[in-house]
Amino acid sequence: MAQVSSIADDQSSKSITLRIARYNPEKDSERQFMEFTVPYEKWTTVLEAILDVKKHFDHSVAVRYSCRQATCGSCGMIINGKPRLACFTKISELDSNIVTVEPMNNFPIIRDLAVKFERLFDTHHKIKPYLDRDDTELESDAKEFLQSPEELEQYIQFANCIKCGLCNSACPTMATDSSFVGPQALAQAYRYVADSRDKGKDSRLKIIDDSHGIWRCHFAGSCSQVCPKGVDPAMGIQLLRGYMLGFRS
């Protein structure tokens, strides 16, 4: 285990030990943790601490990030044992002198904290994440699809998904089932099924009515607890299943 200390520029700021999981599947046989002492302020996020390490100690730490404001969904990782967005998690909120960052579970590791998203994007694509109807706006006399505020309320919460993958990382079924569609895709299936403009309900329900589809969700709710955007995938999945069980029409 490597250990590096920083010289805090500002004597008034506090510091924490940042433990970063290091693993390169092409070279390493197992994961190792490197420890860095990093200064932080009340507003410092875990992502900023990792970037501080990259800037001052070890630029080879692999991490994916972009917007730094919980919009792009790139910086999901396990922070102190739970899936969170690094840019949306303040160190001061963690209430710990040691912050451990690891790559998200249930995603293949590219290197260190960066993981592959292929499976998430594949399952997302599988449930047809678009309005599915025969008539389109390409018709010459077509108008926009009108929708009431009440109809919008039915799905707008689920349209907040940023595809960060935290829900898939927390899901107990995803932990062992390589073929499970996953909470992210299932919540998005509900988003489109509940959209009054969409006509693809039957085909979507058929896609997820599989031995590794919606029935492998057991309503443990871990996905909803870690969602950084308030999407509540567990709710979407149960409402979607309500259609299949005849509770909803």
């Binding site: 107990p172 979407g236 149960q238």
Partner: protein
């Protein structure tokens, strides 16, 4: 850890400590289901001893009507009550009952599906299971 897929694996699935009482209920539901299936198979075998006549039945009864046997039966009662009560909660949830209504989320984004109705359902299942187990122990050891 499977490095290729980096799945959390059985330990991650079975670990009930990180995501609140709902994950504990998920874990207990599985455990009680497997326990009840094992008991059910044993019970079918146990009752088949009636075909061996009075002697065979009494012989097998002597094996099960022990302190250990009573404790196992009390645990089975608890598993049965928990699995039933929590099962009804989960079934209703699966139908979309009591999981809240979709709405624009507000920070800090408390998930509506993890609401007090379901938490009360889980705690009720645990408490009822404990009471049923106590009652079972009182009946079995009270004689």
């Amino acid at each position: 850890m499977t490095q290729d897929e980096h799945k959390e694996g059985f330990k991650g699935m079975a670990n009930p400590s990180r995501y609140g009482i709902e994950r504990v209920a998920y874990w207990l539901m599985r455990l009680s289901g497997l326990g009840l299936l094992a008991y059910f198979i044993g019970h079918i075998y146990e009752t088949s001893n009636i075909l061996r006549g009075r002697v065979g039945w009494n012989e097998f009864l002597e094996l099960t009507q022990t302190t250990e046997g009573h404790i196992v039966l009390a645990i089975v009662i608890a598993m049965c009550v928990f699995h039933t009560v929590n099962g009804i909660r989960v079934m209703l949830g699966h139908g979309g009952v009591g999981v809240g209504k979709p709405a624009r989320p507000d920070y800090p984004y408390d998930p509506a599906s993890q609401n007090y109705r379901h938490k009360i359902g889980i705690y009720s299942a645990i408490i009822l299971a404990a009471i049923a187990m106590m009652y079972g122990l009182a009946v079995m050891f009270g004689e």
